[in-house]
């Protein structure tokens, strides 16, 4: 389109037909190209940013967000700054007066009860303390001593622990949700302490999630490796046909596959019936294979198996059969040739498949919640519980943050091993 103006050879700068220097013109063209590219990407970028990344960041922020205490007790919190929480003296009359004013202000729209619920996550009994106070303080008319009157309403207002808790949580941010998420709390001096052994749930659940995911990953290798090898070495026509057996479960709804496993594994299910019919198992002692870890492991191994087979297959496809023949011709046994030649060549595929299956498995929610019972649930189930059930959003967000960090770290690993660009579909 642009002709180089070569007519005058004495001219040092090459220009286009309309006299613009070629360099500038080229730069402009490149810039325009780049702007068009950016323009094409912008809509999706903005969409993902607003409707996905922002909400997630916002949720993660809930795990440290604590402004509710300052918001609901605007008069009390500044005064508490001067109170010595390490001593044994209760706050003075002025603070009690501020507290009564704050609670009364919050009673109008009932939002003060939310504060009670928030404090209850840290220390039991706080919710009822606030409920009772709201009820009784309404009838409190200009008492002689706010302190005495408030303590009469609920003796917890005369308890140092209550005030220590409020003072400790009076900051805008708090690490306490993360403390809870790793089964800890704070002692009187405000230092992190771990909960007693029998009250630790979250770390145990994290460990269980990781162990079960590792086990599932291991099973997918054991089952996936032989069939990937078969698929990679069969003639194309036949292997395409068998590939359908791998792709069909891959394309079938997750819930369909979970339902199938419920049908197969339950006490009155197909497998138990079959075992009873054969006579391996007595009718009265049918096996419990569902609503426990076995259910989760079996169903998830089945669901995630294609994610192992597909990367393994694509790597095995590239290994020339001559390698094995060469090894055999030099005297290696079939087994030795496999171990020394074939296996090392498939390591990239194993790596890719393992990380993929592990990442997918660790964040699984649906299958564990349907077939996992109580012993086979994952950390996701607890996150869901805190978001929708207990409404302890901060703790749910803290657990979610930990899970997300873990998964992102694995993805960085995946990117190093395989490269995110190499993700393929189907």
């Amino acid at each position: 389109m642009r002709k180089i103006n070569n007519i005058n050879n004495n001219q040092e700068i090459l220009t286009t037909a309309d006299g613009v220097p070629l360099k500038a013109s080229l730069n402009r063209a490149l810039r325009r190209e780049r702007n068009i590219s950016l323009l094409l990407v912008t809509p999706l970028f903005v969409f993902v940013l607003i409707a996905f990344l922002f909400p997630i960041a916002d949720m993660l922020f809930l795990s440290v967000d604590n402004k509710i205490v300052v918001e609901k007790l605007p008069r009390t919190v500044p005064l508490l700054a001067d109170w010595d929480e390490t001593g044994t003296v209760l706050p003075d009359e002025q603070i009690y007066k501020a507290l009564v004013q704050d609670i009364n202000a919050g009673t109008v729209d009932k939002t003060i009860l939310r504060l009670g619920r928030r404090l209850n996550f840290e220390q039991g009994g706080m919710s009822s303390l606030f409920r009772r106070s709201v009820r009784k303080l309404k009838r409190l008319k200009e008492p002689e001593s706010y302190k005495a009157a408030t303590i009469r309403i609920h003796r917890k207002w005369g308890d140092l622990a209550t005030w220590r808790l409020i003072k400790r949580l009076s900051g805008k941010f708090t690490p306490t949700y993360f403390y809870s998420a790793v089964d800890g709390g704070v002692d009187k001096a405000g230092h992190f302490v771990r909960n007693p052994e029998n009250q630790r749930i979250y770390l145990k659940l994290f460990v269980r999630t990781i162990l079960l995911s590792l086990l599932i990953t291991l099973f997918t290798i054991i089952l996936g490796y032989p069939i990937s090898y078969l698929l990679a070495t069969l003639p194309t026509k036949l292997s395409n046909l068998l590939m359908i057996l791998v792709l069909l479960p891959f394309w079938t709804s997750l819930l369909v596959r979970t339902t199938s496993w419920i049908t197969l594994l339950q006490r009155e299910g197909v497998i138990n019936d079959l075992l009873v019919w054969i006579g391996v198992v007595d009718n009265a002692h049918r096996l419990t294979m569902i609503h426990n870890q076995i259910g989760t492991i079996v169903a998830m191994t089945h669901i995630l198996l294609p994610f192992m087979v597909l990367p393994l297959f694509s790597v095995m496809k590239t290994i020339p059969p001559n390698y094995m023949r060469a090894a055999r011709s030099m005297g290696a046994t079939q087994f030795r040739a496999f171990l020394r030649i074939y296996l090392p060549n498939t390591v990239p595929g194993i790596g890719a498949g393992c990380i993929l299956v592990f990442i997918l498995s660790i964040g699984y929610y649906i299958t564990p919640s349907l077939v996992g019972g109580t012993s086979g649930t994952f950390i996701s189930n607890l996150i869901a519980y805190h978001v929708q059930g207990s409404l302890n959003w901060g703790l749910g967000a803290a657990l979610g943050t930990m899970l997300l960090m873990f998964v992102l770290a694995l993805y960085v690993l995946y990117d190093k091993v395989v490269g995110l660009d190499n993700i393929k579909l189907g």
Binding site: V48, P249, S260, I383
Partner: protein, 284 residues
């Protein structure tokens, strides 16, 4: 693997056939659970297992009552309608945005390509439960929780990475000279786009759209958080069905869905072949 070499030892033969049997068992493991629900969905009694009548092939042991329930029950019919509405709209949004972005990202000299690609496919990376919780809080705050708009937007977000990847794949190794020669022959940029680029990326766009559709159609975590009963989709209904009162209607639905996924799989496979033929790629 097709033919054993002549130097195979007897142990080698045994191992080979044992290996084939093992593979057969693994394939059984993959496919059996899907196949077992189909006959069970014709069960005349409300059990999840084969009754003696079914095993003796007695016609009274079989019935279509669960299919009838599925096609007449308003809960399920509403779910089917919602599933299609939500999947179609979210597919349209995600296919449009995803294709545009893939075109942009595949142009040469795109700045920060890897970073931006990483951000754009993040909905595929973040565990679903976290995406679901995040969107739940956010959409509740802007009053989109429990609305069709909210669910469609959420599903569109989840589906765009698939479109992006599918379309980008068709543009890998795209010969820029094709567009240049079209331009040099006097075609305007729009004409180049519609006559050269569109035919080349069409298989990718269609398979991306299919992926997007299936993603939305199958999605169950986000809908449980962002949606409500009014936006119930088939997976939503199945999930609550399995949790609350499990009835063999679920098996009928599962069988129908399996048949649908067989159709999808066929479509994808045909598209893949068409794409390879178009671009002259032969897999060996």
């Amino acid at each position: 693997m097709a033919k054993l070499p002549p130097y195979t030892t007897p142990a080698g033969y045994t191992w080979h056939y044992a290996y084939l049997v093992i593979c057969g068992l693994i394939f059984m493991f993959l496919i059996f659970p899907l196949m077992v629900i189909m006959p069970l969905s014709f069960n005349a009694s409300p059990y999840f297992t084969f009754t003696p009548e079914m095993l003796s092939l007695d016609p009274t042991g079989y019935s279509l009552r669960w299919y009838q329930d599925f096609f007449t029950n308003p809960n399920w019919q509403g779910a089917v309608k919602n599933s299609f509405i939500i999947a179609i709209f979210s597919t349209l949004i995600s296919t449009f945005l995803g294709t545009l972005a893939a075109l942009g990202l595949s142009r040469p000299n795109f700045p920060f390509r890897t970073t931006i690609m990483g951000i754009l496919i993040s909905p595929m990376i973040v565990p679903l439960i976290i995406s679901a919780a995040g969107m739940y809080f956010f959409y509740s705050r802007i009053n989109l929780q429990g609305t069709f708009t909210g669910v469609i937007l959420a599903h569109a977000i989840l589906a765009t990475p698939f479109v992006l990847i599918a379309v980008t794949a068709t543009l890998v190794g795209f010969d820029r000279n094709l567009t240049r020669s079209a331009a040099s022959l006097g075609a305007a940029p729009m004409r180049v786009f519609f006559r050269i680029i569109v035919p080349l990326i069409t298989p990718g766009v269609i398979s991306g759209a299919l992926f997007a559709f299936v993603t939305s159609f199958d999605e169950v975590v986000v809908i449980l958080f962002v949606g409500s009963y009014r936006q119930r989709t088939i997976p939503w209904q199945m999930f609550s069905g399995i949790r609350e009162q499990i009835s063999p209607t679920i098996l009928a639905v599962a069988s129908i869905l399996t048949v649908i996924s067989i159709c999808f799989l066929t479509c994808i496979e045909l598209l893949r072949r068409r794409n390879e033929k178009h671009r002259g790629i032969r897999t060996t």
